[in-house]
């Protein structure tokens, strides 16, 4: 970060300024004059938190995608299908066992195994043929989507979170002042805060593994120079398997989250694949912090857009992507090839 500040003092100042204004908007009570211009603070806060928690969901899906591309140069366009598959399986598990929490490890293992099979039986035979691998992922996504349609049909499914997580919780953020002068604090769905917390924990854990463990070092070396890593005697296939399994499992778990926040239905796979694409284009390929920042930006722009300019909220997202592509094609935190 210090390097960035030194090299780009103007940008660093701008970002610090925006962050300061933003924090003030969130934490300081709004005067009635402000509320006339900007609308009610509660609406604003809901949009912000909605964006941040949506960003958490996008991060969970996109981080697996970016790892798989960063290391194996495989644009896995079946990633969205893995997300939806995980969601459906999670639904089945939570329906039958009544436990929301149990769904997570089961889905992680099942979808992770699917990932292992794919990497070992399919992609390994096409080592180095990036385009062909991508084509296979497209074919797989079509096949898996139709199979899921066959089994679960076209209706929407929602996964129910456990009772003690359902319902709102109170946050230490001022959302308004009542007529009697009492301070009203923001109340927000507890399950969304739990997911946000979990995403942050997972993100930090991933960062730690990547930067502080031997396995992580192997993965980072492989992202930098795959041939060198293989030439140095490392069984690179095991590293690939581990990364693909993890990325797939993570996407599957994200499916459970999406099924809880929103719902599961055909078409959600495409939607989350596209979200992953945009997040990774904006944040930078192969970068976990990039995926986090990209997910945050996209989540916020989508929610804020939905609240304040509903007709064109989706366009904002793609506008951001186009601007990044035009001025910094490798993504915000990506490495220039």
């Amino acid at each position: 970060m210090q390097g960035f500040t030194k090299r780009n003092p103007v940008w660093a100042l701008l970002i610090a300024l925006v962050a300061a204004v933003f924090l003030w908007l969130v934490f300081a009570p709004w005067s009635s004059g402000m509320e006339d211009i900007l609308g009610r603070k509660r609406v604003f806060l809901n949009a912000i938190f909605g964006g941040v928690t949506l960003g958490a969901l996008y991060f969970l899906v996109a981080s697996g995608f970016t790892l798989i591309f960063g290391l194996m140069r495989n644009v896995n366009l079946a990633h969205g299908s893995l997300y939806l598959l995980g969601g459906y399986i999670g639904f089945e598990v939570s329906e039958r066992t009544g436990s929301w929490f149990l769904a997570f490890p089961v889905v992680f293992v099942v979808v992770g195994i699917v990932g292992i099979v794919l990497q070992n039986q399919v992609f390994r035979r096409m080592e180095g043929e990036e385009l062909r691998q991508t084509m296979v992922t497209i074919g797989l996504s079509v096949v898996i989507a139709d199979l899921m349609l066959w089994v679960w049909g076209g209706q929407s499914y929602t996964i129910y979170s456990p009772d003690w997580l359902s319902g709102p919780m109170t946050l230490p953020i001022v959302s308004g002042i009542s007529d009697s002068g009492e301070v009203i604090y923001l109340r927000y769905p507890a399950v969304r805060m739990a997911i946000l917390f979990a995403a942050i924990v997972i993100g930090i854990a991933m960062w730690l593994v990547l930067n502080r463990t031997k396995l992580g070092m192997l993965v980072r070396a492989g992202v930098d120079d795959r041939e060198m890593l293989a030439a140095s005697g490392v069984r690179i296939q095991y590293v690939f398997l581990a990364v693909f399994a993890f990325g797939a499992g993570l996407a599957g778990m994200a499916g459970i989250v999406g099924g809880t926040f929103q719902s599961l239905s055909p078409g959600e796979d495409t939607r989350f694949l596209l979200a992953s694409l945009v997040v990774v284009i904006v944040g930078g390929m192969g970068s976990i912090p990039g995926a986090a920042i990209g997910a945050l930006i996209i989540g916020l722009s989508e929610q804020l857009g939905l609240v304040y300019a509903p007709t064109y909220s989706v366009v904002f997202t793609f506008l951001i992507m186009a601007v990044v592509l035009a001025f910094r094609p490798q993504g915000l935190l990506g490495e220039r090839q």
Binding site: L131, V136, G139, V142, L274, V278, V315, Q330
Partner: protein, 349 residues
Amino acid sequence: MALAEHRKTAPRGLWIERIPGIWWALILFLLTMPAWANGFFLFQVMGWTFILGMIALSLMFLAGYGGMVSLIQMSVAAMAGYMVAIFGVSGVGDISMGLPWWLNIPIAIIVAAIFGTLVGALAVRTEGIYTIMITLAIAAAFFYFTRQNYTVFNGYSGFNLVVPPELFGVDWRQPMPFYYLTLGCAALCYAAVIYVSRAPFGLTLQGVRDNPRRMAALGFNVTAHRIAAYTFASVIASVGGILLVWQNSQIAPGTAGIPAVIDILVIAVVGGIKRPIGPFIGALIYVLLRTFSPDVLLAFGLSGERFKLVIGLGFLAIVFFSPDGVLGLWERWQTRRSRNHDPLTGDPK
């Protein structure tokens, strides 16, 4: 295939004489098809084949000659279709401007070509494998935008009652005239691609595909050539798009939805992206499967809706066993056949 023959060989005949016999048989077959095929086959099956073939041809041009796999072709085609509806006549009177065909068609092609060029400008500055991602994301943006915008694109409903102009007293939407119209356009686009591939434009594009670093070191502006390729490909896709809106007599956001975008890629890859005839072969296979597989599936006791599964599995099989598509299979079969025959006498070994 050389640019110009080595001076010592005998002078070559006209280019017409160099077309092998099998092509003449095909041309004759296609020209006389209305004599024995019914209206449905001409309009739906062959019309669709030529239209999808043209759009997939524009993908093949970028991928096969330029090394850039772009998923924006269907969106460019849809943009052209929308422009014909918006600048011409349609059932949505408040938006359509009613300009005559000799205005709305060129405008549509120009607007769509500009759109394709802009997308190309965004997509070419990154490594090859990114192109798929970026063009897919932009295609999705196009879909969502046309679905949400009501002032220009009429949102969810799109435009209906968009028909070809009545020229020379012919209703071009009748099966036989439409068949010849699409056949003619497809043949023109095909010929254009073949011709351009050996002109400096096409040759430099292939050089850029094979070795962009060397091309830069030979004095070529590699980025400009790639973007220009998108422009050329967009013109071809636009022609397909205009014919598409005339065939359906309507256009809606779903025309360029993600499934349709992926279908074009499937068509190009299944047929083979190395030669321009590949996309048309792929389109024929796709259209035949789509038209007849529900009946075949029902005969096997499965729901007719599972044809997507059939296409997906077929696509997977092709990518696995023959990444060059059907054309690749054909070429390998030819090579194996010639290896099994004595090169002098042609007898089997």
